[in-house]
Assembly symmetry: C2
Homo-oligomer: 345 residues x 2
C-alpha cells in the first residue's frame, strides 16, 4: 500500500468569486498531507479531470441546480482516478473510479457522502480513461438523454447542434445520426467543421466565424430545424429561432456565450417564434438521469466497439495549468473534450 503520509496533495481552491472572465487571482494553490481513510472511506489518486463550461456557473453565488463552490474550497471537478487506500469493500485498492474528485491530486471519499462525491467503478477494458470523461462520461450522458428524452428525434428530422466539436456536441450529432436524422453542426473555424463532417459524419457544419449562422442555416437546413440542441445561447440561439419548424424542440443544455457576462444574460429576442411555430424550449440537467447512465453507456460503448462512433479529447498536462486550461473553454480554443491530466498512472 502507498505510504499516504509521504504524499502531498496539491490542490486548486477558489479564492474569490470571479467577475466576468476568470482570472489567475481567483485561485489559490495549496498543499495538504493525505490522511488515512477511516472506516467506509477510500483515497483516490487523480489521473484525469474533466474541465467543463458548467464550472463557470459553480463559481457564482446563488441557487442553481447544484450548490456553488464555497470560497476557500477545492474547486469541484469530475475525474478518473485509482483507489490507493481503502476501507470500503466496494472500492478496493487498484480499482478505477469516476467520481467528483475536485481539482487536486488526491481525494478521500466516504461512502456516506452524498451525490456530489458519489463514485462509480469503471472498466478501462471497455474504453480508455479519456472516453470515460467524454462520450461515456457526463458530456456523453448529457448529449444522449438531452437529445433522446427532451429532443425526441424522429427519423428524417433535421437536428442542429452548437458547440458541435465540443464534448457534448460530438455525441449529440452522432447519436442523432444513429436515429436516422440529418445532422448539422455549428462550430468555430474550418478545422472543427471539417472534423465534425469528415470524422464524425455530420451532414454539414456551419462555421460561425466565417459566415452568419442565419445564412448557414438557410443553406444547410432548407426544410428548417426540427431539433436544436443549444450549448451556447446568445446570438446563435436567436438565429436558430428564426429557422425552426412547426413543433420544433429546443433543448437548453448550456449557454457558454453568456457565462462570463458581467451584464445581464442576453435573452432570446426571437422567442416568440416558439408561439408562431407551436414549438418548445426545454432545459435539462444530466444528474436527473443517473439511474439510466448504464443504458447510455452500453449504447455508446457498443457503437464505439463497432467503429461507428468517434470522439476527440484535448488533453493538457499538470494541475498547475488548470486556470489557463479553463479559459480555453470560453475562448473556444479547445478542440474536443478538454481534459486535465494530473498523473499518468
Amino acid at each position: 500500500m502507498t505510504q499516504l503520509a509521504a504524499l502531498q496533495n496539491h490542490q486548486v481552491r477558489l479564492a474569490k468569486r470571479p467577475v466576468g472572465m476568470v482570472k489567475d487571482s481567483d485561485w489559490n494553490f495549496t498543499n495538504e498531507p493525505v490522511s488515512e481513510p477511516g472506516e467506509g472511506e477510500f483515497v483516490v489518486k487523480s489521473l484525469m479531470l474533466s474541465l467543463d463550461p458548467a464550472m463557470r456557473g459553480w463559481m457564482n453565488e446563488g441557487k442553481s441546480y447544484i450548490a456553488p463552490v464555497g470560497i476557500g474550497e477545492v474547486m469541484r471537478a469530475g475525474g478518473i482516478g485509482q483507489v490507493i487506500a481503502s476501507r470500503h469493500p466496494r472500492f478496493p485498492v487498484g480499482a478505477t473510479v469516476n467520481a467528483s474528485l475536485g481539482v487536486q491530486q488526491y481525494c478521500k471519499i466516504s461512502a456516506a457522502d452524498g451525490s456530489d462525491k458519489s463514485a462509480a467503478l469503471i472498466d478501462l477494458a471497455l474504453a480508455p480513461a479519456p472516453k470515460w470523461l467524454n462520450a461515456l462520461g457526463m458530456p456523453g450522458m448529457t448529449a444522449y438523454f438531452g437529445l433522446l428524452d427532451v429532443g425526441q428525434p424522429k427519423k428524417g428530422e433535421t437536428v442542429v447542434v452548437s458547440g458541435a466539436a465540443g464534448a457534448v456536441g460530438q455525441t449529440v450529432g452522432q447519436v442523432a445520426r444513429m436515429m436516422g436524422c440529418r445532422v448539422v453542426g455549428i462550430a468555430g473555424g474550418k478545422a472543427k467543421c471539417d472534423f465534425v463532417v469528415k470524422e464524425l459524419g455530420f451532414d454539414a457544419c456551419i462555421d460561425y466565424k466565417a459566415e452568419s449562422v442565419r445564412d448557414g442555416l438557410k443553406r444547410s437546413c432548407p426544410a428548417g430545424v426540427d431539433i436544436y440542441f443549444d450549448n451556447v445561447g446568445g446570438e446563435i440561439l436567436d438565429a436558430v429561432l428564426t429557422r425552426i419548424t412547426r413543433h420544433a424542440r429546443i433543448v437548453i443544455c448550456g449557454a457558454i456565450s453568456q457565462y462570463n457576462n458581467t451584464s445581464a444574460v442576453q435573452g432570446p429576442a426571437n422567442y416568440l417564434s416558439l408561439l408562431v411555430n407551436r414549438a418548445r424550449m426545454e432545459g435539462m440537467v444530466v444528474f436527473d438521469y443517473t439511474a439510466r447512465f448504464p443504458e447510455a453507456i452500453a449504447a455508446i460503448a457498443g457503437w464505439m466497439s463497432e467503429g461507428k462512433f468517434h470522439s476527440r479529447e484535448d488533453i493538457v498536462d499538470g494541475i498547475e495549468v488548470f486556470p489557463a486550461a479553463l479559459q480555453k473553454l470560453f475562448s473556444g480554443e479547445n478542440f474536443g473534450k478538454l481534459i486535465l491530466r494530473v498523473a499518468n498512472d
Copy 2:
C-alpha cells in the same frame, strides 16, 4: 328579405403598416354597396366584433401563423353576425354565425373560402352574443387548450396567469380552478385585481402597477410557480422565470407588452431558469384546436349554466371608434374582453 342594394357597407381598411403604436392615420374608412350572394354564398350583418391583441401582429409584414392583412384590405376581425341573405343551405337567413367578418358592417362569405372566413353557426340560447366572442370564442378556446393541452395542470399545482382580467386570462384562471389548482393572476390596478379574486374566484392577484411582480410572486406563490400562462412577455415573464418550480411549464400565448415595440423584442434574460429547473416554455396557436372547440364550448357553457363560471366584456359602440378602441387594448384601459358593437340587431 333585406333590400341589399339599399345598404351601404361601412368599412375600416389598413392604410399603412404601423410603426410602433397604431395611429389613426394607419386606417382608411370606406363605403361599398352590398352585393347579392352568388350560389354557395351568404351575406352576414355584423353585430359584434372581437378586438384582440393579435390584431397588432396581423398588421405587420412577414411570416407568422397567419398571413398579414394586406394594405388596402378590410381589417381582419372575428365577430358575431346574422345572415341577411343566403344561397347557402347550411347558413339560412336569420341564422347567427361566428365568423371572420372583418371590421365592416356587412360581410359576404363563400362556402369555398378557406379557414380565414370559415363560419360556425352559434346558438344564442346557450349564451348571449358577447360570451361567444369571449369564453365561448377564440379567447376562451385559447385559454382552455393552452392551459390543458400545453400547461397540463395537475391538482394542487400553482398556476399564474398574466393579463388575468383580460379575455384569455379570465378563462385560464377559472379553468385552472376547476382542475383543482391554486390560481394567481397578474393584472394592472386594484379594480381588475379585485374582480379577478372576488368575482372569478382566483386565490390571489398581483397588481403590477402597485408592486414588483417578483415581490408579489414571493408572497402569493410561496411554493413557486408550476404553470405560467403568459399573455404579456417582457419584464413580467422575466420575473416569473425567477420563481418557477422544477418541471414547470410556461405557455407562451402572447406578448402584448412587445407588440408595439419599434426596437427588438425583449427576450427573456432569465431563460436559463428553464435549464436549472428542467422546465419548458412552449408556444400555442388556437387554430390548431378547431376540431376540438365543441369539447371546450360544452365544458365552459356547462360551468356557466351552473353559475360556476363568469366572464366580463368591455363593449364599445360604433364601427368608427375601432381605431381608438384598439388602442385601449395596448394601454391596458379595457376591463374584460373588448368588443366593438356594430349593430344592435
